[in-house]
Symmetry: C2
Subunit: 228 residues, 2 copies
């Protein structure tokens, strides 16, 4: 069975994000996948990148450099336990699903903190092993999110610009950099402004997509996909 | 004298980011500006958007909606004190400078949390008052940051793509959405891989730019600036 990690960032289990997460757990489990959820708010996951992420002495205590210190700590097994736990989950996963409400054209800070702290050098990338040779190659990622704005606002020529513009930092800058292949995003536009029935259709559509997810081809993660 | 708020996110005062912040405080103060710094790591600023941001009862305690709850709390003066403090600083400022190291094609989570939590509906925007009619119009913003990657990697056609691609969510999605006009970004490429002398030149160049900053015209914050 394949292994899936869902990194989930919503405060409210009753939200559409909560339901989308539940639908994914159910559908993927039904398929025989083993599914793990990192429920970031419930875990009170720490988003701040600080000295606390390194157990024991620093490599250079004169001038703190987070990137260098976490790299060194990773190599000697000296990262804090919450990071080691998350890295284990990532290591075992074939697919990472990120489920969140779009906050300011990006992920909520608590999820950005997961990226900042978990995907350290040595574990997820190590120059020149980045992009196609990133250390997490052979894994897939999928960004599944809800928006405040409507599909029209996020159309090419719309006031908020093509939704693909804002996917660049997340899909290319993070996942592709680590060698992860990216499946097409799953976007529920403006669920707060549609009927209860339409929201139910959104859940059904997600379950439906998941049924054939493993047959999907990754997107071509190049500037053309985003900006053409 | 003009008022400037520097929102600063680096753990180490001796870092180049720390020096860039200090240079800005010195140069702008010399000009007669009144400068305030929000030193996010020193403040242990909370990046997570949670129920704790609302003092007293919730508008809807059955199903927690962060956007709705903070909007309602703002209107009745019921946001948590740390947010009220930051909003006061923003309200008074003519110019916001964001000083940070680029983490994963974006700002560090602690600064993303500042955006998520401080720029609430009612304060920074209130539909249809967004983009050119956002509630923070007549203010300026400037993103000043350091990168890990080199200028060549962030060139058009470079492996990390044009650096402007990743500015879209921050400059357009956040600042422009709130009505803030955006000055050209100030980017120090790969300071960790250059000589001490080159790093000193970076500080001098920043001080130099600040001398004539108030004569600069904002960029034209449209898709053309970012993606052409």
């Amino acid at each position: 069975g394949r292994k899936v990690l869902i990194v989930y960032a919503h405060q409210e289990p009753k939200s559409l994000n909560g339901s989308l997460k539940r639908v994914a757990v159910e559908e993927l489990s039904k398929q025989g996948c083993s599914v793990t959820v990192s429920d970031l708010y419930a875990m009170q996951f720490e988003p701040r990148a600080t000295r606390n992420d390194i157990v024991g002495c620093l490599h250079n205590s004169e001038e703190f450099n987070y990137g260098v210190e976490t790299w060194e700590a990773y190599k000697r097994g000296g990262l804090s336990n919450d990071l080691i736990e998350e890295q284990k989950k990532v290591q075992e996963a074939d697919l990472l699903i990120f489920q969140f409400p779009l906050y300011w054209f990006s992920m909520p800070a608590i999820m950005k903190g997961w990226m900042d702290r978990v995907l350290v050098q040595g574990f997820a990338h190590e120059f020149p092993n980045c992009y196609d040779s990133g250390l997490l190659k052979n894994k897939l990622a999928l960004f599944s999110f809800t928006t405040g704005g409507s599909e029209e606002m996020y159309a090419k020529g719309g006031i908020s610009g093509d939704i693909r513009y804002l996917l660049w930092p997340m899909q290319h800058g993070i996942m592709h950099f680590c060698g992860v292949k990216v499946l097409a995003p799953h976007i529920c536009f403006a669920p707060e402004y549609v009927s209860e029935e339409k929201r139910k259709e959104m859940l059904v559509a997600w379950a439906q997509r998941l049924k054939t997810l493993w047959k999907e081809e990754p997107i071509n993660c190049s500037p053309e996909w985003y900006f053409k």
